[in-house]
């Protein structure tokens, strides 16, 4: 076991962002090419459509120690796959009510619609989400402690 | 039906005609105007400075009173209407002003712009209905009448939401309802300049003449307004080009109610 430094570090949350390939991932690219910053603790996973995101993935992220999970897709009505984001919207509202039933702060998960043209919005959304999750603090309830401490 | 009513300073003195005829007509049309208690002067001009709080409190008090008494606040004077409606919008949508005004007032529950501010003309149109007025008219006014809107009723249109700011029709519809022939003229929504009368006497003179000349050119025989200040200015500075009256005076005439 490595010795952990005792110095108290400021809490920086670990955020997983699922972005659909056609709108939000491109929006994140635009945020990049426009040099619009957001915190480095946001890491993006590319999926073809927001409807590819199984609620299991989100639970898995929390279990593995993520502090917040955000899912981004095309604006309703603009889905590249016509209706994919409508499924997302419905599934996620179910997942969110399940999470709040379990006592997990609902602010830890979020669905946002970001188009390929909305680089500024992508950056603003990420900044805001990181801020929200930072205020909530570390995710303890859903983390599988064996995973965290086993390492 | 009863509606909370805010008369305002001038309607108690120089513009009694406006107040008295309005009340009589409303009664004849089945609306009771209930003057709110202990109203204070609205200040006659909406303070635009973003830090102006104290100057808006009298309007908020009146609005809060109306909130608990039917939820509607009836106004008659254009200036009062402008001040109260814009203040109400601040209380509804401007978080900073809402917080600070409520901080001063210490009401039982904070006021958040819940009251609906209704001008007498809107009341005639939406509550009574111009058709009902048409039926109640005993003496149709067979005259050509020019509506003078001025600036206060219409602008800023985003907040006032009174009528199309460039092509309003509500007073024209009103004139039709009382049997008159409305005359539309281009200067009906131009400011008469009365605000600066004490500082710059010439400007209001020019502007009033322009308004009345424009109305006369298009064939108006008289001009009506809802604003005591416009009335004063058009009468005093308008060289008597056309007679100017309150719209409620004509309503009273058409309905056959006597002061």
């Amino acid at each position: 076991m490595q010795e952990v430094t005792t110095e108290k570090k400021e809490f920086t949350p670990n955020i997983v962002a699922f972005c659909c390939n056609w709108c939000s991932y491109a929006g994140a690219d635009l945020a990049g090419s426009s040099r619009l910053t957001y915190p480095a603790n946001v890491k993006i996973i590319r999926v073809p459509c927001s409807c590819r995101v199984n609620p299991m993935f989100i639970l898995k992220a929390f279990q593995q120690g993520a502090d917040g999970v955000i899912l981004c897709g095309c604006h309703p009505g603009d889905c590249h796959y016509v209706t994919g984001n409508y499924y997302t919207r419905r599934r996620m509202s179910l997942l969110f009510s399940f999470l709040s039933y379990m006592g997990i702060e609902k602010e830890r998960t979020r669905v946002e619609w970001v188009s390929a043209a909305e680089g500024a919005r992508f950056s603003a959304v990420m900044n805001d989400f990181v801020k929200t999750v930072t205020e909530l603090g570390e995710n303890k309830r859903l983390t599988d402690l064996r995973i965290k401490e086993g390492k | 039906m009863k509606i909370s009513y805010y008369p305002g300073c001038t309607l108690k003195t120089k513009a009694k005609d406006l107040d008295v005829t309005a009340r009589l007509c409303a009664k004849a049309l089945g609306v009771e105007m209930e003057e709110i208690e202990n109203w204070q002067c609205c200040g006659a001009v909406y303070p635009m400075g973003t830090d102006e709080i104290a100057t808006k409190l009298s309007a908020v008090r009146a609005l809060d009173h109306a909130k608990h008494n039917g939820g509607k606040l009836l106004t008659l004077c254009s200036a009062c209407h402008n001040v109260i409606k814009r203040t109400n919008e601040d209380m509804r949508s401007n978080e900073d002003i809402r917080f600070r005004a409520n901080n001063y007032l210490k009401l039982d529950e904070p006021y958040k712009g819940e009251t609906e501010v209704l001008h007498y003309l809107e009341m005639l149109k939406n509550v009574v209905g111009f058709d009902a007025i048409k039926k109640a008219v005993v003496k149709p006014l067979n005259r050509k009448i020019g509506a003078y809107y001025g600036c206060l009723l219409l602008r800023p249109s985003g907040v006032m939401a009174f009528d199309n700011p460039e092509n309003p029709t509500i007073i024209e519809d009103f004139i039709r309802a009382i049997g008159g022939t409305p005359v539309t003229y281009p200067f009906r929504n131009e400011c008469c300049g009365a605000y600066v009368a004490l500082k710059n006497a010439e400007l209001p003179k020019q502007k009033s003449r322009k308004v009345l000349t424009s109305a006369k050119e298009k064939g108006a025989e008289e001009v009506i307004t809802a604003c005591p200040l416009c009335l004063y200015n058009l009468q005093v500075n308008g060289d008597g080009i056309l007679p100017v009256k309150y719209f409620t005076e004509l309503l009273a005439e058409a309905l056959g109610v006597q002061a």
Partner: protein, 128 residues
């Protein structure tokens, strides 16, 4: 207050973003008091943006603006020149002794017919 702070304060007081102005001049095309404005409505916006404080504070236009909102209504960019005029006027009035109209000036010009509304509004507009 430094000059820069004063400028910032006027911007804040006006609640309008002068950088949105595209210098079309529609406000001045409509202003009914244009001839009596020594600084024109569009100039208020650009001069505030450039920080020309002294000229703004010394102008006569702040007393002649009718606050009729025609410029605000017409602006294609959502700028409110009238709010800038008022913010400058407020700033002048709030400096000690700079009231636009003094109480003793009133009685001689008041006639029988003058409505309260005019006196009240004049006090509110020009005095502190």
């Amino acid at each position: 207050m430094t000059k820069e702070e004063r400028i910032e304060n006027i911007k804040k007081l006006s609640g309008t973003d002068v950088r949105k102005c595209m210098k079309c001049g529609k406000c001045s095309g409509r202003c009914p008091a244009f001839k009596d404005m020594d600084i024109k409505p569009h100039q208020f916006v650009t001069m505030l943006g450039k920080g020309k404080l002294d000229e703004l504070l010394a102008c006569k236009a702040i007393w002649n603006c009718l606050s009729c909102m025609a410029c605000v209504e017409r602006c294609p960019r959502g700028v409110a020149p009238a709010a800038v005029v008022e913010a400058v006027r407020d700033t002048v009035v709030r400096m000690q002794g700079n009231n636009g109209i003094k109480a003793e000036e009133i009685p001689p010009i008041v006639d029988e017919l003058i409505p309260q509304q005019l006196l009240v509004s004049a006090y509110r507009k020009y005095n502190k």
